[in-house]
Symmetry: C2
Subunit: 171 residues, 2 copies
DNA sequence: TATTGTTATACTCTATAACTATA
DNA sequence: TATAGTTATAGAGTATAACAATA
């Protein structure tokens, strides 16, 4: 089987141009590629294409869990910040509180989170995971480890380190 | 004044925690941040947040040009691959040909592109920029230089280099 | 039979305005 | 007056199915 990319530190095989590999984390290059010129050096383009590749792999890895990227991050932040307000969780994730309502509704419908009473502010909800939510997130944590490990194996630890170091500057 | 980010190689101003800076390329951190734990080290999250920051700055930089990120990349690829089929342009950008039709319609409505006759295939359109499209893209090229330069100044040339080097592995 | 461009359609994500109950 | 949660709504972006013309 022909493969496509250069070996990373560990033991990554090369990806061939024509090898159709629907399960591969990294996409196949088209046989007759167009001239992209400097497009791959433009930050927005490079970040967007990479983000889409990672989200597609995320979808495959989390198909059995039933969580999309934003849902996973929301539950993850709730787990580490139990009792916080709905709007605080939303703000931490860069989601507008108005769009976060339906996500919370679905979590509650699936029995993953609980809108508790806030002690000091009767307008606010104190958000927390239910036992079922904790259990699902435990499974999801195992899955995310596999998911993240995949990128280290594919790209190399050093490349992932310098990537994340720079991406942190955006946050 | 409390600050947020380390100076880049050149001469980057420091961002204060409370200083409200609506024009700043990088977002302000919330005063009372939640515990994100390992979230910023997850590839999908880190890439998505960075991509959004870059696209927001793109929107500000290109407000006068009237091009969104996907539109700019489409025109850019058309410029470097005149005479190619609509579906080839779309495929190169990871856009489905069915969703690319309306984008091409808008380009034509604005007089930026031309659906020419393909010499060898009467089903296909040979896409190219009009003079007006070339002119707009010349302006856009100046703007993208400023836009890209901003990230180098903010993040440092070395960080941008290692970022792009790794992001290229996704393409 | 397969491909090119197209329409129609649906679903997600995101953005804004406005309401209510509290603060 | 401002904030927390909510509803309604509109706009992007993206995905699939189906069609006519052509290969």
């Amino acid at each position: 089987m022909t493969t496509r990319r250069q070996k990373a530190s560990a033991g990554m095989a090369r990806r061939g141009v024509k090898a159709s590999s629907p399960d591969a984390a990294l996409p196949d290059r088209p046989v007759q590629a167009l001239d992209l010129n400097r497009l791959p050096t433009f930050m927005g383009y490079a970040l967007r294409r990479a983000q889409l590749v990672v989200f597609e792999q995320f979808a495959r890895d989390f198909a059995g869990i039933g969580l999309r990227p934003a849902q996973f991050t929301a539950l993850y932040v709730i787990q580490h910040n139990p009792g916080r307000k709905q709007s605080e969780i939303a703000a931490a994730l860069g989601i507008q509180r108005t769009n976060f309502v339906s996500m919370m509704d679905e979590f509650e419908r699936r029995g993953l989170t609980h809108r508790g009473k806030s002690a000091d502010d009767r307008r606010a909800h104190a958000i927390s995971l239910t036992d079922k939510g904790e259990k699902l997130l435990k499974k999801a944590t195992t899955t995310i480890e596999v998911h993240e490990r995949r990128w280290i194996d594919l790209l190399g630890q050093d490349n992932v380190d310098c990537l994340l170091k720079t991406l942190r500057m955006f946050m």
